[in-house]
């Protein structure tokens, strides 16, 4: 029944989004891209794709960072176009997507100020999707409580931050904890929001977000080995909306090394496959890449269903992956480091 009235509000945008999705580079494009000798070649080839003349006004020689900027700029323009044309509840949904970038930006700025970097140097590094009005004044805050009271209280992130106020100073460890707590709160809120929308959106998005939550839990666990993070604190950082919840997370909380994490993942079919294929040897894919691959396949699957919001999320994530791929290839081309050029993650 929801499908019948979906198109009234979001039909145009969904169509637009699917149109954008058709512009995502295909395997054949990547095969051409990896043959490039210089960045100019890369530019010439990208001109033949949906990217068109996005680099035409850049004076040569090109640098990888300009390519990166331009790629991101194009994506942001597209996303903001979608956002500007959306109405409730899609607009809230799209806002939710941007919150993760806001979290990243906040953490970036705080870490930067902690290392005494001038704020003007940090701002250009922030993701434009996650910018908010008070962002640039973030360095007035010295403690989490101040951060909350002065800066974040007016932003949509305020409800996520409530758990972090108790932290004492902003040191490196605490920033990591803040980041993960924020993320946990954000993911859980996003998950609930999607559940509340219901229908196909819930089916698709909960799947993707559950994976995202589990991935975070696993990565946090693996990264925490050898740090002073206690097991209790660690357990508090796990987002509790994934498939690992609750047994898997409990097991993860007890884990002491990589093997134990792997053992936990054994119980979950899809994750065990990821651990199986991953390795640190030359030629093997890293666990991170495996996760990315899985995420890409989940996002690609989102396009198989119609009348849901998941396509917007998936489009953004796929496009981001594509940007990472292009930047990776351009880095390899620029540094003449061709042996690893094939380590991109193909989407279609």
């Amino acid at each position: 029944m929801k499908g019948c009235i979906f198109n009234i509000d979001a039909g145009y945008l969904e169509g637009l989004c699917r149109g954008f999705k058709c512009g995502i580079l295909k395997q054949s494009d990547y095969l051409n891209l990896v043959q490039c000798e210089t960045l100019e070649d890369l530019k010439l080839h990208l001109q033949g794709t949906d990217y068109g003349t996005f680099l035409a006004n850049e004076p040569s020689p090109l640098s990888v960072s300009t390519i990166d900027d331009k790629l991101r700029e194009k994506l942001v323009i597209e996303f903001q176009h979608l956002r500007n044309h959306s109405v409730e509840p899609l607009s809230t949904f799209l806002d939710f997507i941007t919150y993760s970038y806001m979290i990243d930006n906040i953490i970036l700025l705080i870490t930067g100020t902690l290392h005494q970097r001038p704020i003007s140097e940090l701002i250009p590094k922030c993701h434009p999707l996650g910018s908010f009005e008070q962002m640039e004044a973030i360095h007035v805050a010295a403690t989490p409580a101040e951060l909350y009271n002065a800066v974040l209280v007016d932003t949509p992130l305020a409800p996520f931050f409530v758990d972090c106020i108790s932290e004492q100073d902003l040191d490196e460890m605490n920033i990591e904890i803040i980041r993960n707590t924020l993320y946990k709160a954000y993911l859980e809120a996003f998950y609930d929001f999607c559940k509340q929308i219901g229908g196909t959106t819930a089916d698709v998005m909960c799947e993707i977000l559950a994976f995202e939550a589990d991935r975070r839990a696993i990565i946090i666990t693996i990264n925490s080995f050898g740090t002073e993070l206690s097991k209790d604190d660690r357990a508090k950082l796990y987002p509790r909306c994934g498939k690992l919840n609750p047994d898997g997370l409990a097991a993860l909380a007890r884990a002491d090394d990589y093997e134990q994490v792997k053992a936990v993942a054994e119980y979950y079919a899809e994750y065990s496959a990821l651990f199986e294929g991953a390795g640190n040897n030359v030629g093997d894919k890293t666990l991170e890449d495996k996760f990315f691959e899985h995420e890409v396949s989940l996002n690609v699957h989102a396009f198989l269903q119609q009348f849901h919001f998941g396509v917007f999320y998936s489009y953004l994530k796929l496009k981001e992956q594509e940007c990472r791929n292009i930047v990776w290839i351009s880095e390899c081309v620029a540094q003449k480091h061709r042996t690893k050029i094939d380590n991109y993650i193909p989407i279609f």
Partner: protein, 841 residues
């Protein structure tokens, strides 16, 4: 006109060019050739001239930048009258240097301008800060004075007041839309201990880099304590608020304002000068800009063409392949020689024709008159190579069939005038280059519209129909035999031709007397129906006959006997015979006839006769009449139908059986494969002989018979199936297509009725009154009538008649002979390339 009959003969030519300068200069002389891509599997960035293309890209980028700057300042860009030639290699370097210089100059200018403007902006902001904050400080000082007076009273109190009075403050400017958040933030970090005063600037300021207008607000934040100050400053930088020094005392402030004002005036002068200078530079650049961009585009097009060419193994020459119309070969060769001479290359470029079994592109040379008609045909499908081109006949049949449906002298006149206006104003209208798609369609079809209008006027005259009224020019052939008394007695009378017709028909077209007749529609229907069948059958027979031309040309003479003959016999014996019956009926039956059997009332229905003929049945004639029109008609009809039926198996089996026997005969006398050794004779140059052999193209397959139609290889069953489909389609289509031509009658009827309704319902309303009110009514009614006439009758009906005509040509006419499997010839031509790019922009 011979060129229109079929597409031009094309030759695949091999081009040998010296790879350096000569290559570049010879390409423009190929403006009647279509280059074939010799490296289709090579990436865009791996081609030979990719660096040159990149240089062009870079130049285009500079041009775009300059153009943007020129547009930003609103400098008028004059249009070029004579598009410049493509620059030769030396000029390219000059052009490149020139562009580089201009770009740098403009870059520097704008950089300076931005700096100056930044300065100017800061000073203006400072001025505003000083002026606007005046009021705040006055208020504060009053308070301070107040506290001073208080201190006289009590020392202790005074000290407190003094410390309270010595509030620190910062003054600055912030963007207006960020004010609320800014204020809230300040309040939050200080827990409400900051006092913010603000005043909005009325006039927008100019953003130095983008030139956009920005609205800003002046603020003064009062606070206490150094720690708070640093935090406030942090917030200010976070919100991009620019802070300005603002002396606390009144006199200092006023001095400062004065200083700032003089500095502003100076700066303004400098700014104006830079602006003038910039204007001068841009104006001089703007003059050159269009010709530069055309030159660069031409260059790019040349290099793109060169990229299609192949490098010879020895790297001594560049080999290209292109299709050239045979008629233009000498011109191209001459142009090539001239091109290589012009750049002083020692090795001339060569052009050699090579044989190929590839299907050449279809090229019809058109002029502005025939182009529209050719487009109508190409829209259906581009003719196969050297196939008979129906566009030639369409020039007349199209407007004519349209006019049969659109027959109205008045509407035709409007259309003809519109078409004539476009044709007369052709040059100036074409120069305007509108982007309106509908207008462009009309304009492209201006000659079609003109002809359609003229033909409609003619058919309108024949139908005697002008805005649904008739004209009595030559005097009606009918007269009223009754006297007034009888006429008054009844509203309607029947005019018997025996005593009210003078036996000489009206000079041209329909007698105007029919306009007043009750049975006008019945009469016209019978007339127009017959007319459309007659035109249809003639049109179709003509189409079938056209196929002979194709069979003859493509050396499939057997098809003339096995396909064309049965087809045309079938069509003639059945449908042409029906047409004959119509004419016979018109001629033989008359009320003045002496023979009773040919009197009025005895004329048999052609349709019934035709149906009876097909079914071998008969109807009982009315008393005193005969069933048939002439003696022996029954026998003749029977023979016709039998012969026509015999044609069907010939159509069905003739060709397949012939092909079968021919292929068997071929197998019997096995001939050795013909070697196409003669191919290399064309290539006699010493150095090129090896190249000729190296090319795989020429002898890939032994070419079949002239047209290269691959029926020989097809298995018998497939030929049989094809032929069966064709036969069934043809036999059925003779009936359905004949019926389809009845749309000529239907649309014509609809058009006439609609225009009559419009006249009766709208204009008559204004014509009824004879006093002054009638004039006003007529004025209004005429407006509506004219509007509807234009919108519905001319535009909408015209469009629908156009579409039906198009269908009659595409389906009913062209299906009889046209294949339309070719692909269009796209010669390398600067004009189309430039136009295309303009469209994309």
């Amino acid at each position: 006109m011979g060129a229109m009959f079929r597409s031009e003969e094309m030759a695949l030519c091999q081009l040998f060019i010296h790879p350096d300068k000569a290559a570049y200069t010879s390409v423009p002389s190929l403006d009647v050739c279509e280059a074939v891509d010799l490296n289709p599997d090579v990436n865009a960035f791996q081609r030979k001239f990719v660096n040159e293309v990149r240089r062009c890209d870079e130049m285009e980028r500079k041009l775009r930048y300059i153009e943007a700057e020129v547009h930003k300042d609103g400098v008028h860009v004059p249009s070029v009258k004579e598009p410049p030639r493509a620059p030769n290699p030396r000029e390219i370097i000059d052009l490149e240097a020139h562009l580089e210089k201009t770009e740098n100059e403009i870059l520097e200018l704008s950089h300076n301008a931005v700096n100056l403007k930044q300065n100017y902006l800061e000073l203006t902001e400072l001025k505003h800060v000083l002026e606007k904050t005046e009021a705040f400080f006055v208020a504060q000082e009053e308070f301070g004075m107040d506290s001073l007076t208080k201190s006289l009273i009590s020392d202790e109190q005074g000290q407190q007041a003094a410390s309270r009075g010595r509030l620190g403050f910062v003054a600055g400017v912030v963007q207006r839309e960020r004010v609320p958040a800014f204020e809230r933030m300040l309040w939050r970090i200080s827990r409400g201990n900051v006092f913010l005063r603000r005043a909005e600037l009325d006039k927008p300021l100019e953003d130095p880099t983008t030139g956009n207008e920005i609205y800003k607000t002046v603020f003064v934040a009062f606070f206490q304590g150094e720690q708070l100050k640093s935090r406030i400053k942090k917030v200010c930088t976070g919100f991009h608020a620019s802070l300005y020094p603002c002396p606390p005392s009144n006199t200092e402030r006023q001095d400062m304002v004065k200083g700032v004002r003089t500095r502003l005036e100076d700066l303004n002068m400098v700014l104006n000068q830079t602006r003038d200078h910039r204007q001068r530079v841009l104006i001089s650049v703007a003059k050159e800009l269009p010709s530069w961009s055309i030159m660069v585009r031409k260059m790019k097009a040349i290099y793109h063409t060169l990229n299609l060419f192949n490098m010879d193994v020895t790297k001594k020459c560049l080999i290209g392949e292109c299709w050239v119309p045979t008629a233009d070969l000498p011109n191209v060769q001459k142009a090539l020689v001239d091109g290589s001479n012009a750049c002083g290359s020692s090795i001339p470029s060569f052009l050699n024709c090579i044989e190929t079994d590839e299907e050449p592109p279809t090229f019809n040379r058109t002029n502005r008159f025939t182009r529209g008609f050719q487009n109508l045909i190409d829209a259906y499908g581009v003719a196969s190579y050297r196939e008979c081109n129906p566009a030639l006949y369409t020039i007349i049949t199209f407007p004519f069939l349209f006019a049969v449906m659109f027959g109205d002298l008045g509407h035709g006149l409007i259309m003809a005038l519109f078409g004539a206006w476009m044709v007369i104003k052709e040059v100036s209208l074409a120069a305007k280059k509108s982007n309106n798609e509908i207008w462009n369609i009309f304009f492209a079809g201006r000659y079609i519209i003109l002809l359609m209008g003229c033909f409609s006027m003619y058919t309108g005259l024949v139908y005697n129909d002008i805005f649904s009224k008739s004209m009595n020019i030559f005097g009606s052939s009918w007269y009223v035999p009754y006297d007034n008394k009888t006429l008054e007695s009844s509203p309607a009378f029947t005019l018997d031709p025996n005593d009210s017709y003078i036996d000489v028909p009206y000079f041209i077209g329909i007698d105007p007397i029919w306009q007043t007749a009750d049975n006008k529609i019945i009469f016209l229907n019978s007339y127009k129906m017959k007319l459309s069948i007659i035109f249809g059958v003639v049109h179709m027979i003509f189409g079938v006959c056209m196929s002979v031309v194709n069979y003859n040309f493509f050396k499939r003479r057997y098809s003339i006997i096995l396909e064309f003959l049965p087809q045309v016999v079938f069509l003639c014996l059945l449908f042409l015979y029906m047409v004959f019956m119509m004419f016979y009926k018109w001629v033989a039956y008359s009320t003045f006839s002496t023979d009773l059997a040919y009197q009025q009332g005895c004329a048999p229905s052609v349709l019934i006769l035709f149906i009876n003929m097909m079914l071998f049945s008969s109807n009982e004639p009315e008393a005193g009449c005969k069933e048939f029109m002439f003696e022996g008609q029954g026998q003749i009809q029977r023979v016709f139908v039998l012969v026509a039926l015999c044609c069907i198996p010939v159509m069905l089996l003739g060709k397949p059986l012939y092909l079968l026997s021919a292929s068997k005969k071929k197998k019997k006398d096995v001939k050795p494969e013909q070697s196409n050794g003669s191919v290399n004779q064309g290539i006699e140059m010493q150095e090129q002989t090896d190249i000729g052999d190296g090319e795989p193209k020429p002898e890939a397959k032994p070419s079949g018979s002239g047209g290269g139609h691959g029926h020989d290889e097809e298995p018998f069953s497939e030929v049989m199936i094809h032929q069966a489909i064709h036969t069934i389609e043809y036999v059925l289509s003779t009936i359905s297509h004949t019926a389809s031509y009845l749309r000529l009658w239907a649309l014509s009827l609809a058009h006439a009725e609609l225009s009559e309704v419009l006249w009766n319902m709208v204009l008559t309303f204004g014509l009824k009154d004879s006093n002054y009110i009638g004039a006003i009514k007529l004025y209004v009614a005429f407006c509506f009538w004219a509007l509807f006439t234009l919108a519905i009758l001319v535009m909408m009906e015209g469009l629908s008649a156009f579409l039906h005509t198009l269908r009659l040509h595409w389906v009913e006419f062209m299906s009889k002979f046209y294949q339309g499997l070719g692909y269009i010839f796209q010669p390398f031509c600067f004009k189309t390339i430039l136009e295309q790019e303009e469209k994309e922009e």
